[in-house]
Amino acid sequence: MSSQRRIDWAIYAGFVILIMLVPLAMDPFWLNRIAKYLVFGMLGIAVALSWGYAGILNLGQGLFFGAGAYMLAMSLKLASATSLQQGSDKPVPDFMLWNAEPGAKTELCCITKASFLWLPFQSQWFGFAMGVILPVLMAVVVGLIVFRKRISGVFVSIIMLALVLLVRLVMIDAQPVTNGFNGLTDLGWFKVGEFEFDPYIVPTYYLVAGSLSVVLLAARLLIDTRAGVILQAVRNDENRARYLGFDVPAYQTFFFAVSAAIAGFAGMLYVIVSEFASPTFMDLSFSITMVVWAAVGGRASILGACIGAIAINMISATVSEAEGFAEAWKAIIGLIFVLVVLYLPRGIAGLAHDLIDRAVTRKAPAGSVALRVHDASSQLAE
């Protein structure tokens, strides 16, 4: 096991070094693109954590991503130059003027019905904090209700799916506060002190890559803690864990919230590199796409899911450049996905794991067979 674990950590370290070296070989345009894909990689981690380790297939992860994105985007919207040019000495988002109540003052307090909600977002760090706090709050509320009632499996998936669609519709309907379908565009840059994170510069890439590395390693450490092991016990047999005296809903809610926090954080980073937030983040297809990434990469491997997300997006970006091939690529993705679910349920990471296992076993045939059996059985239990 120790040699396997060493290999595991070596792979993690290799991945971190690799993403740190990317700026050496890329122009700003591609650097920005890759930064986006790293954000998707972070989403893969969030999915793997809740699906692979907590056994909760969340078909509404976009809710947390979108919440994080909108929170920061609101602050950045107020920081944008156009918001200062709306005829008031305080920033007012341009779209609010188009939706203004007749005769209302051009100020955040009262220009549209609920525009006062934007007031605290004049501070960028408020938006930044809310980008994690709000998803966590939502996850805790949902988790406490759902897991205490012992709702599990597909019902959790459907509740989350309905929830993300519900929130999406409310966001679209609340046009005067959220700019509806169009989302928040024309944002200012994220600032730390005097430094501005222009999405096309190298420091912004490192902001994303560094965040991803920290989240990746933290998630890996988290699943090795006692709580992480108990969580996997819950995944494998909920009732047994309950009979052993563990407070199952507490563990599930905790990891659900961690996953939400990661997704929310990813949403914020996405806003920083892509300069918009839109209700499409809460589309059903986006939430399922995240699950696809994790499934292809390996649902029960944090790094696997992360690499799966990055790789799929990299390949589709490259392939879609070819004229007329974008649509065909979508079909190929669909096909890959069917094949992975059918023949490779543990994804690429599972395949890699088996190959490494085989290599290790050849070196030390004695002890590792038992380990492999144990490993396989825990994977099968799902």
Partner: protein, 297 residues
């Protein structure tokens, strides 16, 4: 008010039309078929294509769409779904992939676009279906204007529901299906050919989706993505009604349709859908097994 209730009824019947097939595949086979919406889409395209190439109307398209989608369903069952029985969430994921494949097949005209060929009626664009004159306009009944096409949808839904009920509860095959719903291993032990019945059930459910597609094509634009939102609505109906309960699906479709209609009349369509989602979430939380849960399994 009567008009609002009628619109609610017709919305409910559309929901039921899509949900009926799902109720069977999900309830009987434990398969979450995300490609169900694409079956609806294929049914709609059958209407478009038969109209363009055969010059036939919507009435001819109904049996045609049923056959095409049932065969497609059989194919999907044989190739993909069969390998995944008992892995509920994996069926969801795999059929999502199948759904993408079907969508792209229509969008790329089965790949012919790469060879510069084009089939009229396919492709990424929007298609329209002409409704026969007899189904256009409105009827005046008791001083209320009633849309003929909506009435037609309600009738077709009622007929299909009755047919499904009859098949499930009054035929030998239906008894076998219900035995599988309760306990598939025990059913197999009693000599039921579970594989065969499952395949036929899946084909029947897909065929129902095809008919739903024909009905949709009469009042909605037909395009390759049209099925995605429908499958979600269909699922919510089935889950709320209680898995494996036909009556539950009928009632929950009715309830959700009326809620949608009434709220939409008071506010707007977007909020009405949001309220529907809210109601479904509340019901799943309060009664996770649905309104009419089957005991057993």
């Amino acid at each position: 008010m009567l008009e609002v209730l009628f619109i609610g009824l017709s919305l409910g019947s559309i929901l039921l039309l899509v949900a009926l097939g799902l109720a069977i595949t999900y309830g009987a086979m434990g398969v979450i078929n995300m490609a169900h919406g694409e079956m609806v889409m294929v049914g709609a395209y059958v209407t478009v294509l038969s109209g363009l190439w055969l010059g036939t109307n919507i009435f001819v398209a109904i049996p045609l769409a049923f056959i095409v989608t049932a065969l497609l369903g059989l194919l999907i069952e044989r190739i993909v779904v069969r390998k995944l029985y008992g892995r509920l969430l994996d069926t969801l994921l795999a059929t999502w992939g199948v759904a993408i494949l079907i969508q792209q097949a229509v969008r790329l005209e089965f790949g012919l676009t790469f060879f510069g060929m084009h089939i009229q009626g396919l492709g990424p664009g929007l298609q329209n279906v002409d409704v026969p004159g007899i189904l256009q306009g409105t009827l005046h009944i008791a001083g209320v204007d009633i849309n003929r096409y909506r009435t037609f949808i309600i009738l077709v839904t009622a007929v299909l529901t009755l047919a499904t009920w009859f098949l499930l509860y009054r035929t030998v095959a239906g008894t076998q299906v219900r035995a599988i719903i309760r306990n598939s291993k025990m059913a197999a032990a009693c000599g039921i050919d579970v594989e065969r019945v499952n395949a036929l059930t899946f084909a029947f459910g897909s065929g129902l989706a095809g008919v739903a597609g024909v009905m949709m094509s009469g009042f909605k634009t037909v395009f390759p993505d049209m099925g995605t939102s429908m499958v979600v609505d269909g699922f919510l109906v089935v889950v709320m009604g209680g898995v494996g309960s036909l009556l539950g699906s009928v009632l929950s479709a009715g309830i959700l349709g009326e809620i949608n209609g009434v709220v939409a009349a008071g506010t707007n369509d977007i909020l009405a859908r949001a309220v529907v989602f809210g109601v479904v979430i509340a019901i799943i939380i309060l009664k996770p097994k649905g309104l009419f849960a089957l005991k057993g399994r």
